[in-house]
């Protein structure tokens, strides 16, 4: 009985994601038609330009890389019942820490990059510890604190660039090659694109999250706290400790995302007037991926391809890129409202009922 229910649950999450993607893209198509564009032409241009050439494939993978990491960050926090909307800010301090190590420390190649990546991850973890700590000790909702921390991160990063890393300039110099995550071999394999080693870091972190959550005692506790904090407390787990730890690991992923973007893609840091949005995209990725590592990877691929291909779509079919943001929004809304619930019920209720009846006999 329990098994059957959990299986039904699993199909419904998967179905929810698939149905939401289809409906979301349909919303996009309707918007294109309403504005007088050809959706078929647009979507074809989008996918063709993101996947067919080695260069574009490399650039798509580059776009997917930070999405996996920010998606994992949001997903891990969700598993512990926390909404880390602060991934954006943790991403920014990750970038900042990475560029500081990149510019200020003189280290041999490889080691330099490793230290810079770790610095970025730790900065993200510390930034996320603040909302975690306040949630655990003072019961303040982590969402509000995280939003505030995002703005503080943005201003902190800007003032550091303007006052400390440069003399009043808008962007830092490039980091030395010793700290770069880009390797010639990989770039050449993908037609000279900006693909970098960050993708392996992202995949490794997905594996790490899977191992942590489902194969260790700590991971069991994190999930238990997310599932039922009162029961976990009663069973002797420290809810407070797990909240703080979960936020910090989540922030670690976000910081890694920032560091890998900086050390692999950009190579320098610049003053930002607004958020990059990569952190917020992580929310969409995690939701669509049902907060599992594999799901996050798959949905990152979808969102990454849509994002990178969307830029080309604007170029080739004349459709403004922003329609892709609307598609994202629609997908999140459909997933959040668990749109497949009513639909799945409609199609499978009878069969499910029969299954249950048979099992009860």
């Amino acid at each position: 009985m329990q098994q059957i229910l959990s299986r039904v649950n699993k199909t419904s999450t998967f179905a929810t994601s698939l149905i939401s993607i289809v409906l979301g893209m349909l919303v996009g198509a309707i918007m294109m038609m309403a504005a007088g564009y050809d959706p078929v032409l647009a979507y074809r241009a989008l996918f063709a330009s993101a996947l067919l050439q080695p260069y574009d494939l490399g650039e798509s993978i580059r776009t997917i890389t930070p999405l996996i990491l920010t998606g994992l960050a949001v997903a891990l926090a969700f598993r512990t019942g926390l909404f880390n909307i602060g991934v954006e800010g943790q991403f920014i301090v990750g970038q900042l820490a990475a560029v500081i190590v990149g510019l200020k420390l003189g280290l041999p190649p490889v080691l330099h990059a490793v230290v810079a990546v770790i610095a970025g991850g730790l900065a993200g973890a510390l930034w996320a510890a603040v909302p975690g700590l306040l949630k655990a000790t003072r019961g303040v909702h982590e969402v509000i604190i995280s939003i505030m921390m995002n703005f503080i991160a943005l201003n902190l990063s800007n003032v550091m660039i303007r006052k400390w890393l440069t003399e009043g300039s808008d962007s830092t110099p490039k980091i030395p090659d010793s700290a770069s995550l880009r390797v010639d071999f990989l770039s050449q394999l993908f037609g000279g694109s900006r693909i970098h080693l960050g993708i392996f870091l992202a995949l490794a972190m997905a594996l790490f999250m899977f191992y942590l959550l489902w194969k260790t005692k700590l991971g069991y506790e994190l999930r238990a706290v997310g599932h039922n904090p009162l029961a976990s407390e009663y069973a002797g787990m420290s809810v407070k400790r797990n909240i703080i730890l979960s936020m910090m690991i989540s922030g670690l992923f976000a910081g890694f995302a920032g560091a890998s973007e900086l050390l692999g893609t950009a190579g320098y840091h610049s003053i930002q007037a607004a958020f990059t949005g990569v952190g917020f995209d992580g929310i969409a990725v995690a939701l669509l991926g049902a907060n599992t590592p594999l799901g996050v990877i798959l949905s990152s691929v979808l969102f990454g391809v849509l994002t990178y291909g969307g830029g080309n779509m604007q170029f080739e079919a004349g459709v403004p890129f922003e329609v892709i943001r609307v598609v994202f929004a629609a997908i999140i809304l459909f997933v959040a409202a668990n749109i497949s619930g009513p639909l799945v019920d409609l199609f499978f209720r009878r069969r499910r009922g029969r299954h249950l009846a048979r099992n009860l006999d």
């Binding site: 918007m31 939003i147 505030m148 201003n155 003032v159 629609a330």
Partner: protein
């Protein structure tokens, strides 16, 4: 010296106006128990609609009216997802923010040949001087020679306070946010009250957005709102979910911006970078929430979808 003071006051009023309006919007929604992290998106759609309709009709008041309608319409998906489908209210709000920014920039590009911003609006809600009062030194030119949206904001604070605390509608709304089961037992429709609250919230936040595009500013682009919806949310919390609290917090945040801008003007930022001043509202909100500057108590039923018949 007096001139500086007038300058700071003037900028404070200017920057607090949209925050007051959007903060009041958040107030209605959250007092009814629905988290409204979508203020940013609602302001964005308001700013966009106000600018476009003002350009089309040539009348800024038409723009303002259209903004109100657009905010009410855009608030609907949030209400449907979070009230009817019981989706996570924060997630649904995040989606709405995506939707508003994507939709408005998409349409701007469509309407204006791929341009990233609208043309300058042909008509604005210009500053109005209140006869007599505007002659008072220092406060006259700043408080009584202001944009109409500022007067609207102040009047709406009074009206909101009256509605929330002195009318049956307001008491029902607050009851639904504190103890929905009890309210339902007393014959109040929780679902209906929450829908109305979220829609009012959309209207008010959209006026805040319109203030940015057709009175303080005179065009719409993707950074017109630039996070002010989130600051309004902060003002709502800092103001402890009360109308006058929102007013006070918004004025305080506006003052922080004014200091940073005026400071730049007078070279103060040589010693204290403007970014540090920009951080002030956020740092203070965190301190306030952490209980160091007075405890902020949220409505009891906030964030919880209402299940009919549950206890």
């Amino acid at each position: 010296m007096l001139e500086t003071l007038t300058n700071i006051l003037n900028t404070t009023v200017l920057y607090s106006t949209p925050l007051i309006l959007a903060g009041l919007g958040g107030l209605f929604s959250e007092r009814s128990g629905v988290v409204n992290i979508a203020l940013e998106g609602l302001m964005t759609i308001g700013a966009f609609t106000a600018a476009v309709v003002t350009i089309v009709t040539g009348n800024a008041w038409m723009g303002l009216l259209a903004a109100v309608v657009s905010g009410m319409i855009l608030a609907l998906p949030h209400a449907i997802a979070s009230i009817t489908f019981k989706a996570d209210q924060v997630v649904s709000g995040v989606a709405l923010n995506f939707l508003a920014l994507g939709l408005s920039v998409y349409l701007v590009k469509r309407f204006y040949d791929g341009a990233a911003q609208t043309p300058v609006v042909p008509d604005k809600l210009e500053e109005v001087a209140i006869p007599g009062l505007s002659q008072i030194p220092v406060i006259g030119p700043s408080l009584f020679h202001a944009f109409p949206t500022t007067y609207i904001a102040v009047i709406l604070v009074l009206v909101s306070s009256f509605i929330l605390y002195r009318t049956p509608f307001g008491m029902r709304l607050r009851a639904v946010g504190e103890h929905p089961q009890a309210a339902e037992t007393a014959g109040v429709s929780v679902i209906l009250m929450r829908y109305m609250a979220v829609i009012i919230s959309g209207a008010l936040a959209a006026i805040g957005g319109a203030a940015l595009s057709i009175s303080i500013g005179s065009e719409f682009n993707q950074s017109t709102v630039a996070g002010q919806g989130f600051i309004a949310l902060a003002a709502l919390i800092f103001g402890k979910w009360r109308p006058y609290g929102v007013l006070g917090a918004a004025v305080f945040f506006g003052f922080a911006v004014a200091l940073s801008l005026t400071g730049q003007l007078y070279g103060l930022t040589q010693y204290l970078p403007s970014e540090v001043l920009n951080m002030l509202p956020y740092v203070l909100t965190i301190l306030a929430l952490a209980g160091f500057v007075g405890r902020a108590e949220a409505p009891a039923a906030i964030g919880k979808p209402y299940e009919k018949g549950s206890r």
